[in-house]
């Protein structure tokens, strides 16, 4: 058991180092490229301009207006940290992010997708937004996985049949199809032209918020709003899942022990269940857990196309608005979830498969 513990500790250390490096890199990219300085400067300038116009109405004295504007500008630069060099800002970011202290945001657009008035704590923002992404992306992934797990084992004995070829062709086709284009097309067709589904998906904010007040109506509304996004993602991802699980099963079906089982005259369903699926389970489990962990990060482009108020949209708003603290927080949370999922998997492997301990 000491061996297991030391192997696990080493892996944990490696993954922790990876998380820290990723946070460092993100901070470096945000600050060293001058990206956040530029975006923040533009924001400060627009505030200063508005402020100047505002006070010009009441104060007629030119020099006084200039003085006040200058003072306001300095204040804003202090708030946004523009008066400090980039590496100071970057190191503060890294420190705060690693300590899970993500700070506060007062952006209108970000507050509007949360559904509350600014200022908001960034950790609260992320906590409100995650369930929405789970409703859209994670649910879609689960549906895909369920369908694929139901269909793929039935295909392994019919490799090369019409059904099998159809699955491969479907997988190839959806692999080449951008999900966000499918989303655009479906919105255009089903929401605008046929009017079957809603056009503005932001209303889901209210239905999720009021779920406890009137569960039945709001749940029905949530389903109505989530239907098209989920259908889109399922259509786009199902092919990949079918193909992937099929490939894992095919790998096993060529093993000698399956051949022996067949020679023994065991019925096909038994072979599939006991000899194939069971052996192929670990790699399939790996991809399922990693996909579910990854789905929580959201799909930036597809969510943006639907204007779905989830993690992806938040990510995009934060990046385009130069809200570096949220970008850092999201990257951190996302990486952390992913890395924890990987660690759990590796721990499972080591516990379940003694061979892995040697390497």
């Amino acid at each position: 058991m000491v061996g297991v513990a030391s192997v696990l500790a080493r892996r944990a250390l490696m993954l922790a180092v990876a998380v820290i490096v990723i946070v460092l890199l993100t901070a470096l990219i945000l600050e060293a490229t001058g990206y956040s300085t530029r975006v923040l400067k533009a924001i400060v300038d627009s505030y200063v301009k508005a402020y100047r116009q505002d006070i010009s109405r009441t104060i007629r004295n030119e020099t006084m207006v200039n003085e006040l504007t200058e003072k306001y500008k300095l204040e804003l630069e202090e708030i946004y940290g523009l008066n400090k060099p980039w590496y100071v800002r970057a190191s503060t970011f890294v420190k705060n992010t690693l300590l899970m202290d993500f700070g506060i945001t007062d952006r209108e657009d970000i507050a509007s997708i949360v559904g509350k008035a600014p200022p908001l704590r960034v950790s609260d923002v992320i906590a409100t937004v995650i369930p929405r992404t789970v409703i859209m992306i994670t649910v879609a992934e689960i549906i895909c996985i369920a369908i694929a797990l139901a269909i793929a084992p039935r295909l392994v004995y019919k490799i090369g049949s019409i059904a099998d070829r159809a699955v491969v062709a479907y997988a190839a086709f959806t692999n080449a199809l951008p999900i966000w284009w499918l989303a655009m097309l479906f919105i255009l067709m089903f929401s605008y032209q046929l009017r079957v589904f809603p056009t503005d998906y932001r209303y889901i904010i209210a239905f999720i918020r009021d779920l406890s007040i009137d569960p039945i109506t709001n749940f029905a509304q949530i389903i109505y709003y989530a239907a098209l996004p989920i259908i889109t993602v399922v259509i786009a991802l199902l092919g990949g899942w079918l193909y992937g699980i099929r490939a894992q099963l095919i790998r096993v079906i060529r093993e000698d022990f399956v051949f022996v089982a067949k020679a023994k005259g065991l019925p096909d369903p038994t072979i599939t269940k006991k000899y194939i699926v069971r052996v192929a389970a670990p790699p399939i489990m790996t991809s399922i857990i990693l996909a579910l962990a990854g789905s929580i990060g959201g799909y930036i482009i597809t969510e943006s196309v639907f204007e779905w108020p989830g993690m992806g949209t938040l990510y995009y708003l934060a990046i385009s608005g130069g809200e570096a603290s949220i970008v850092m927080a999201l990257t951190y949370v996302f990486t952390l979830i992913y890395v924890i999922a990987r660690f759990i998997l590796e721990a499972l492997y080591i516990v379940l498969d003694p061979r892995i301990r040697i390497t």
Binding site: Y35, V39, Q193
Partner: protein, 554 residues
């Protein structure tokens, strides 16, 4: 020794590639994808050769060119599937009739054409562009024509629909340029803008006749220049205002109903809004462009007879259908943009896939063959890169580039592609490393080493030829990834400026709420992206079966 090795090494490589290609061709999907690939490359090459190198500035983003097309209209062929339409007509007028009125010293030229409207659909507007204007220089002042467009409608009404606000463009390569200086002449006889005056002084010959070559004058009346700023008071002036905004419906339509809405404000009724219902008027329209010189000195009148006020006039009636693929909201010809997208997509795909594969190959072979600290460093880098969420980083870098290099689209695009390459080689490097490790242990490598073969020889002669098939399969597989990512970034609003299919889609997406029915705008770029990606996916699958025979099923 090196010289002897090289040809045979290349020959071996070529032979192995030829084998792969042959094996691929023998499969159904392989054949289909190779044919598709050839078609893609032929179209891309054709587009790259035929289209002007400065296509973006000269055509795609050129307001002059956009202005000649109707905006947001479906392709012309939709009329064959029964969609009612107003034809798009472009006529070059060079034949003219002239009329001399000696008493009043007026010389008038008329260019005439007809336009037929068969369905009850409104055209979007009329533009007339004149080429090579005749300006008469008398002493130190100039006389230009006063141009008008007269339209006589099928219902017998003849109206004057444009009285020259002639626009003089003083740039020789006008039609293909963005930054031409535009001098407005509201009444060409009286106003002498500096630029025109200087040119006249420069070119005027002794006879007093001057022809400005390659200059385009044009009369455009599908927009108002804000001349109707009188206070809103009565129905008539509101109609005038409406006419200025949408002249086309008054030219090609009949008013079937006028509604004025009043509101009781501050003790009196005041007019709020006038709405008109228009019915397009079907039939044949006679369009005359009349150019009239007045107050010409008699000495010149006799000489002008053999000349034309314009060598030719391009008259455009903007229809409700256009070209092979329709137009976008700015009036760009989508067929051209989509065609230009072929070489761009192929170049983006191969650039990223090629460099990714090359770096993956080098890193993998070095890592596997030399081992030790180099191996450790490369493996750790790959580990960390594999954990970084690529898309956010890509968006951050692309946005930083977009803000910094707004005027240099190539830098923005290259920046995006380089990030894709930097994050893309890891997975391949791991596979190549594993292969190198197992090949390295083979007895024949030991034998080669015992015979005194150098590392270089072993790598190039024994390892790389065996790895190459995988590299080719990987290269083909990673082409669509680059194309799809670039398109996705465009949809997010990261604009590098090149008209890629993704960029066209992103415009369509921005206008989605306006252009809800514009399927001709949303469908083709997505279909082209999908077909191109599918070609490479299928080819990759076929190649994979060749290099990994265990995958063969049939």
């Amino acid at each position: 020794m090196n010289k002897q090795v090289r040809p045979s090494r290349l020959k071996a490589l070529a032979a192995s590639l030829r084998d792969i290609l042959g094996e691929t061709w023998r499969q159904g999907t392989g054949k289909a994808s190779l044919i598709l690939m050839v078609i893609l490359i032929v179209i891309a090459t054709y587009a790259a050769v035929v289209m002007p190198p400065n296509f973006r500035d000269a055509v795609w983003d050129n307001i002059e060119v956009q202005g000649e097309n109707p905006s947001l209209v479906p392709p012309e062929w939709t009329k064959h599937i029964g969609v009612p339409y107003a034809p798009h007509a472009v006529v070059m007028l060079s034949e003219l009739t002239d009329k001399l009125d000696l008493d009043n010293q007026i010389y008038e030229f008329n260019y005439t054409t007809t336009y037929n409207l068969e369905h009850e659909v409104l055209p979007q507007g009329i533009i007339a562009k004149g080429y090579e204007l005749l300006v008469v220089a008398v002493g130190n002042y100039t006389i230009g024509p006063r141009c008008r467009i007269l339209i006589s409608r099928p219902d017998g009404i003849t109206g004057l629909y444009a009285d020259t606000s002639v626009t003089l463009t003083v740039s020789p390569e006008l039609a293909w340029s963005r930054s031409s200086t535009i001098v407005k002449l509201s009444e060409s006889e009286n106003i002498k803008p500096d630029l025109l005056y200087k040119m006249v002084i420069k070119y005027a010959n002794e006879s007093g006749l001057l022809i400005l070559k390659n200059k385009v004058y044009y009369i455009e009346f599908n927009t108002a220049n804000g001349t109707f700023l009188e206070p809103i008071g009565n129905v008539a002036s509101m109609l005038v205002e409406d006419f200025a905004l949408k002249p086309s419906k008054y030219i090609f339509g009949e008013i079937s109903n006028i509604n004025a809405s009043y509101e009781f404000i501050r003790g009196q009724w005041s007019l709020q809004r006038v709405t008109t219902s228009m019915k397009p008027l079907v039939g044949s329209y006679n369009i005359t462009i009349s150019c009239r010189y007045t107050a010409l000195p008699p000495a010149i009148l006799s000489r002008i007879q053999s000349l034309k006020p314009f060598n030719s006039i391009k008259l455009i009636v903007k229809g409700s259908v256009y070209g092979f693929m329709g137009t976008d909201a700015s009036g760009r010809d989508l067929a051209l943009g989509l065609l230009y997208g072929f070489p761009l997509a192929i170049a983006i795909g191969f650039f990223v896939a090629g460099l990714t594969s090359l770096i993956g190959l080098i890193a993998g072979v070095v890592s596997g063959y030399y081992g030790g600290i180099v191996d450790e460093v490369i493996q750790r880098i790959v580990d960390i890169m594999g954990n970084i969420p690529l898309l956010p980083i890509l968006i951050i870098i692309a946005m930083a580039l977009m803000v910094t290099y707004a005027e240099a689209p190539l830098i923005v695009l290259m920046g995006i592609l380089i990030v894709l390459i930097a994050f893309g080689w890891g997975a391949l490097a791991i596979i190549v490393r594993a292969m190198t490790l197992s090949i390295k242990e083979e007895p024949y490598i030991e034998a080669a080493r015992a015979l005194g073969a150098s590392d270089k020889r072993i790598i190039f002669k024994h390892i790389i030829p065996q790895v190459i098939p995988y590299i080719v399969a990987n290269l083909v597989f990673s082409v669509p990834g680059a194309i799809l990512t670039e398109a996705g970034l465009s949809v997010l609003g990261i604009r590098h400026g090149y008209p890629t299919w993704g960029a066209i889609l992103s415009e369509a997406y921005r206008y989605m709420r306006v252009a809800m029915e514009a399927l001709w705008w949303v469908l083709p770029p997505g279909i082209l992206i999908s077909i191109t990606s599918l070609t490479f996916v299928l080819l990759g699958m076929a190649l994979e079966k060749v290099v990994e025979p265990r995958l063969r099923t049939a």
